[in-house]
C-alpha cells in the first residue's frame, strides 16, 4: 500500500466516524448547546449559553487563527537555526490593549448573566394554566422520593401538570449523602444536601417524559439513580393526584411496587432475584420478606452495605412496601 492510499483510507475512515456521530447528532443540537429547553428557566440558561458563545467563538478564532498564521508565516524555512528574530522586548500599548479588551468582554458577560437572573430565579406564583404546585423532592441512596401537598408519595417518576409552575423543595435525609437533582430540559441542577433545604422550579411547555439523573457521586449505584418528570395535561394530572390520594389512604395503591422498583430493585432486582449489585441477597422466596416487622427493621436502619432506604418512611409507605414484598416475593414467584 502506498503512503498516499494509506492517507486516503485514514481520512475516509475519519469521515465515516464523523458521519456516524453526526447522524444521531442531527436529532437534537448534537451537544453543541444545552439540551433543548422546555421550561422558561431552561430557556434563560440556553440564551446565556449562546450569548457567551459569541465572545468565545471570536476569541477562539482570533487566538487559534493568529497561532496558525504565525506558525506558517514565521517558520524557519531556509534561515539558519541561530538567526535571531527582531529583539522586541514588549509593547506597553499592545499589552494594555489586550488587558482592557477582556475586561470589557467579561463585563458584558457579567451584565448579561445578572439581567437573566430574575427570570431564572423568581418562581411565578401562578400561570394561565393554574396556581403554583409545590412538591418536595428527596434525594436518597439511590432513588428520588416526591411528596405532593396532599400527602401523596411517589418515587423516581415525578408527575407534573402542563404549563403550571412547579416549585421543588430539594432535600436529603440527615442520614443520607449528597445528591443533585437535574432534568436538563427543565433547567439547571441543584444539590440535595443532608441538612440543607434548597429549591428550584420549572414550568413545562409540553407534555411528555423528560429524563435526567443524579449528578453528584452518591455511592455505588449513582449511575442507576435516574429521575424522570412526566408532564400531563392539567385535568389528567389532577385526576391522577386525586386517585392516588384515595388509593394510598385506602392502602390499595401501586405505591409498594413503585417504591420497590425505585429503591430496592437497583440491587435486589425487579424480580427479587438478588445479586444485581453488591451481592444483594435474593428476596424472592425468602421467609424474611414475609415478616413485616423484620423488613421494617432492615429498611429503616440499613444493614451491612445496604443503605437505610426506608429511614423516615411514613407508616403508609412502609405498609405499602411490606405488603408488596409479602404478596409478590415471599414464597410466590419461585423459579
Amino acid at each position: 500500500m502506498t503512503p498516499a492510499v494509506g492517507t486516503r483510507l485514514v481520512s475516509a475512515g475519519a469521515l465515516v466516524a464523523l458521519l456516524a456521530n453526526a447522524a444521531p447528532a442531527l436529532a437534537g443540537n448534537g451537544g453543541f448547546a444545552p439540551v433543548p429547553p422546555e421550561s422558561p428557566n431552561a430557556h434563560d440558561i440556553t440564551w446565556t449559553w449562546w450569548f457567551v458563545s459569541i465572545f468565545i467563538a471570536i476569541i477562539f478564532v482570533l487566538v487559534e487563527g493568529l497561532l496558525i498564521l504565525f506558525v506558517i508565516r514565521y517558520r524557519r524555512g531556509k534561515r539558519a537555526r541561530d538567526a535571531d528574530g527582531p529583539q522586541v522586548h514588549g509593547s506597553t500599548r499592545l499589552e494594555t490593549m489586550w488587558t482592557v479588551a477582556p475586561v470589557v468582554i467579561l463585563a458584558a458577560i457579567g451584565v448579561a448573566v445578572f439581567s437573566q437572573l430574575p427570570g431564572l430565579r423568581d418562581v411565578p406564583s401562578a400561570s394561565a394554566a393554574g396556581e403554583k404546585l409545590e412538591v418536595t423532592v428527596e434525594g436518597r441512596q439511590y432513588y428520588w422520593q416526591y411528596v405532593y401537598p396532599n400527602g401523596v408519595i411517589a418515587a423516581d417518576r415525578l408527575r407534573a401538570p402542563l404549563g403550571v409552575p412547579v416549585e421543588l423543595t430539594v432535600v436529603a435525609p440527615e442520614t443520607d449523602v449528597i445528591h443533585s437533582w437535574w432534568i436538563p430540559a427543565l433547567g439547571g441542577k441543584i444539590d440535595a444536601i443532608p441538612g440543607v433545604v434548597n429549591s428550584t422550579w420549572f414550568q413545562a411547555e409540553r407534555t411528555g417524559i423528560f429524563r435526567g439523573q443524579c449528578a453528584e457521586l452518591c455511592g455505588l449505584a449513582h449511575a442507576n439513580m435516574l429521575a424522570e418528570v412526566e408532564v400531563l395535561p392539567v385535568d389528567e394530572f389532577e385526576a391522577w393526584l386525586a386517585e392516588q390520594e384515595a388509593a394510598q389512604a385506602a392502602g390499595n395503591s401501586d405505591l409498594g411496587e413503585e417504591v420497590y422498583t425505585a429503591a430496592c430493585s437497583t440491587c435486589h432486582g425487579l424480580e427479587g432475584q438478588g445479586g444485581v449489585a453488591l451481592a444483594a441477597p435474593r428476596l424472592a422466596g425468602s421467609a424474611l420478606v414475609a415478616d413485616a416487622a423484620a423488613v421494617e427493621q432492615i429498611v429503616r436502619n440499613g444493614r451491612n452495605q445496604m443503605p437505610a432506604v426506608g429511614g423516615g418512611w411514613s407508616e403508609q409507605e412502609m405498609d405499602a412496601v411490606t405488603d408488596y414484598l409479602a404478596q409478590e416475593l415471599a414464597g410466590g414467584s419461585q423459579g
Partner: protein
C-alpha cells in the same frame, strides 16, 4: 578540586550504584528520582484512565462496574493530581531551579531528600490502599462527606493518610524553593532577571505554603468524623456537609494553578528559544503570574454553584473567577507576540509548546462558561467539566511538561531524545487528546453526568463515548512511543552544554552537570545571561 573533595568525604558504602541514589542529597539526583517516580505513577494512573474509558466505550458495558469503577476513578484523579502533576513539577524545579539561578544546590539539601522520600512513601500508601479492607477510597478525588464519612473499610483512611504525608512533603519542598530563590541567586541576578520558569516555581511554592494548611484542616476533620467522635460534617449532630467543600476548594482551586503556573513557566522558556526572540513583555508575564496566584485564592466557591448559595455569593465568585481570565489572557497574547516575526524552529519542545497554546486556550475559554453560574447549573458535574479540566491539566500542564522534558532531557542526561520519535509522540498525543476530550464537552451538554460507570443506549452518548475511548488509546500509543524514545536515548546523540542555543544559566554548565553544578558562574546582566554572553563573544569575533 571541589569534585574530588566531594567524593572523598563520602563513605565507601554510599558510593554503590543503588546506595548512592538512596542517600543522595544532590538536587539533580533528587530531581531525577522525582521524575522517574512520577513517570511510574503516571503510567499506573494512565492505565486506570484507559480502564475507565474502556468501560464507557459502549452502553451497558461491564468491564468495570459500580464500586470498582468508583475506586478506579477516585484513584485516577487523586494520583494524577497529587502523585503526578504536582510532584513532576517539583522534580523539574528541583533539577532546574538551582542551575537556572547559578547555585550549587537547594538551600536545604537534606530537607529536599526528605520531601522526596515522603512523596514516594505517600504514593505507595495511596496505591497499596487497593488492598485495604473494603478496597481503595471510592468517593472521588474530592471525597465529599457525608459519602466519604459513610464509606466503609479503610481505603478512605489511607487516602487521608497519603494526602497528609504528601502535604508535609510539599510544604517542606515549597519552603525549600522559596528560601533557595531568595538567597542563592547568582551575582547580578535581580528579581527582574530571574528566569520565568524560576518565577513560576517561586509562586507555585508560595501558593502551596498558603493553601496546604486548609487541606490539612479539612482532611483532619474528615478523619476525626470517620474514626473519632466529632461531627463536623454531620448535619444530624449540628455539623455541615458543605463546610468540607469550602475547605477543600479553598485549597483545591489554587491547586489548579499550582499545577498550571510552572507549566506556564516552561512555555515562557521554550517559546523564546525556539523563536530566537526574547519573551514578549517579561514583566507582564512575571506579574501576571502573581496576579493569577492571588486571585486564585478568591474563586473557590465556583466549584459550588449548585449547593444553593445566595445569588450575591454566586455573583461574587463569578466575577472573581472571570478576573482570572484577564492575566491568563494577557499571557496567551504575550506568548503569541513572542512568536510574531520570530525564526520558528519546530523541534519537539516547540511542537509541544505550540500544542499547549492551542489546547490551553480552549480550556481557558470553556472556563468562562463555567464561571457564568447559570450555565454552570446546566454543565456542573457533567462531562463538560471533565473536558474542561483535562484541557487545562492534560492539554495544558502535561503538554507543557512534555515540552519541558524534551527541552531539558539533554541537560538531565547529556543525550538528546530522538527527534523523529518526538514528533510522532507529539502528533499521536495531540490528535488523541482532542479526540478524547473534545467530544466530552458535547456529552456534558447532552446531559451525561461525570462519575457514572454506565449509561443506557442513546445514539449521541454512544457515538461520542466511543470516539473518546478511541482517542484515549491513540494517546496511550503516543506515550508508548515516548517511552521507546526514552529507552533509545541511552545511546542518543550527545548533547554538549547548550544544544538549543538557549538563554539561561543551566546551559552554561556541562550536560549532565557535575555534582557541584558550576566551576564558575558569569555575572548576570539580563534575564538572558547566555544570550548576552554569545553576543559579546560574537562582537569579539570569537564565535
Amino acid at each position: 578540586m571541589a569534585a574530588r573533595a566531594e567524593t572523598e568525604q563520602i563513605p565507601a558504602w554510599q558510593r554503590g550504584k543503588v546506595a548512592s541514589w538512596l542517600v543522595t542529597v544532590d538536587h539533580k539526583r533528587i530531581g531525577i528520582l522525582y521524575l522517574g517516580t512520577c513517570g511510574v505513577f503516571f503510567a499506573l494512573a494512565g492505565v486506570m484512565a484507559l480502564l475507565l474509558r474502556t468501560q464507557l466505550a459502549q452502553a451497558d458495558a461491564d468491564v468495570l462496574t459500580k464500586d470498582t469503577y468508583n475506586e478506579v476513578l477516585t484513584m485516577h484523579g487523586t494520583a494524577m493530581v497529587f502523585l503526578v502533576v504536582v510532584p513532576v513539577l517539583a522534580g523539574l524545579g528541583n533539577f532546574l531551579v538551582p542551575l537556572m539561578i547559578g547555585a550549587a544546590d537547594m538551600a536545604f539539601p537534606r530537607l529536599n531528600a526528605l520531601s522526596y522520600w515522603l512523596f514516594l512513601f505517600a504514593g505507595l500508601v495511596l496505591l497499596l490502599s487497593f488492598t485495604a479492607s473494603g478496597g481503595a477510597a471510592r468517593s472521588g478525588w474530592t471525597s465529599y462527606p457525608p459519602l466519604s464519612v459513610h464509606s466503609g473499610g479503610n481505603g478512605q483512611d489511607l487516602w487521608i493518610l497519603a494526602l497528609h504525608i504528601l502535604t508535609i512533603s510539599s510544604m517542606a519542598g515549597a519552603i525549600n524553593f522559596v528560601v533557595t530563590v531568595h538567597n542563592m541567586r547568582a551575582r547580578g541576578m535581580t528579581w527582574m532577571r530571574l528566569p520565568l520558569f524560576v518565577w513560576s516555581v517561586y509562586i507555585y511554592a508560595w501558593l502551596l505554603i498558603l493553601v496546604l494548611p486548609t487541606l490539612s484542616a479539612g482532611l483532619t476533620m474528615l478523619l476525626l468524623d470517620r474514626q473519632g467522635w466529632t461531627h463536623f460534617f454531620d448535619p444530624a449532630e449540628g455539623g455541615s456537609a458543605v463546610l468540607y467543600q469550602h475547605a477543600f476548594w479553598f485549597f483545591g482551586h489554587p491547586e489548579v494553578y499550582i499545577m498550571v503556573l510552572p507549566a506556564f513557566g516552561i512555555i515562557s522558556e521554550v517559546l523564546p528559544v525556539f523563536s530566537r526572540k526574547p519573551i514578549f513583555g517579561y514583566k507582564v508575564i512575571a506579574f501576571s503570574t502573581i496576579a493569577i496566584a492571588f486571585v486564585s485564592m478568591l474563586v473557590w466557591a465556583h466549584h459550588m454553584f449548585t449547593v444553593g448559595m445566595p445569588d450575591y455569593l454566586n455573583g461574587f465568585f463569578m466575577i472573581s473567577s472571570m478576573l482570572v481570565a484577564i492575566p491568563t489572557g494577557v499571557k496567551i497574547f504575550n506568548w503569541l507576540a513572542t512568536l510574531w516575526r520570530g525564526n520558528l524552529i519546530f523541534d519537539t519542545p516547540m511542537l509541544f509548546a505550540l500544542g499547549f497554546l492551542s489546547i490551553f486556550t480552549v480550556g481557558g475559554l470553556s472556563g468562562i462558561y463555567l464561571a457564568a453560574f447559570p450555565i454552570d447549573w446546566q454543565v456542573h458535574d457533567t462531562y463538560f467539566v471533565v473536558a474542561h479540566f483535562h484541557y487545562v491539566l492534560f492539554g495544558g500542564s502535561v503538554f507543557a511538561i512534555m515540552a519541558g522534558l524534551f527541552y531539558w532531557w539533554p541537560k538531565f542526561f547529556g543525550r538528546m531524545l530522538d527527534e523523529r520519535l518526538g514528533k510522532i509522540t507529539f502528533v499521536l498525543m495531540f490528535v488523541g487528546f482532542n479526540l478524547t476530550f473534545f467530544p466530552q464537552h458535547l456529552l456534558g451538554l447532552a446531559g451525561m453526568p461525570r462519575r457514572i460507570y454506565t449509561y443506557g443506549e442513546d445514539g449521541l452518548w454512544e457515538g461520542y463515548n466511543l470516539t473518546s475511548t478511541i482517542g484515549s488509546y491513540v494517546m496511550g500509543l503516543g506515550l508508548l512511543v515516548f517511552l521507546y524514545a526514552i529507552v533509545k536515548s541511552r545511546h542518543g546523540r550527545r548533547a554538549g552544554n547548550d544544544p538549543w542555543q538557549a538563554d539561561t544559566l543551566e546551559w552554561y554548565t556541562t550536560s549532565p552537570p557535575p555534582p557541584h553544578n558550576f566551576d564558575s558562574v558569569p555575572y548576570v546582566t539580563s534575564a538572558r545571561p547566555l544570550y548576552d554572553l554569545r553576543r559579546r563573544l560574537k562582537e569579539a569575533g570569537a564565535l
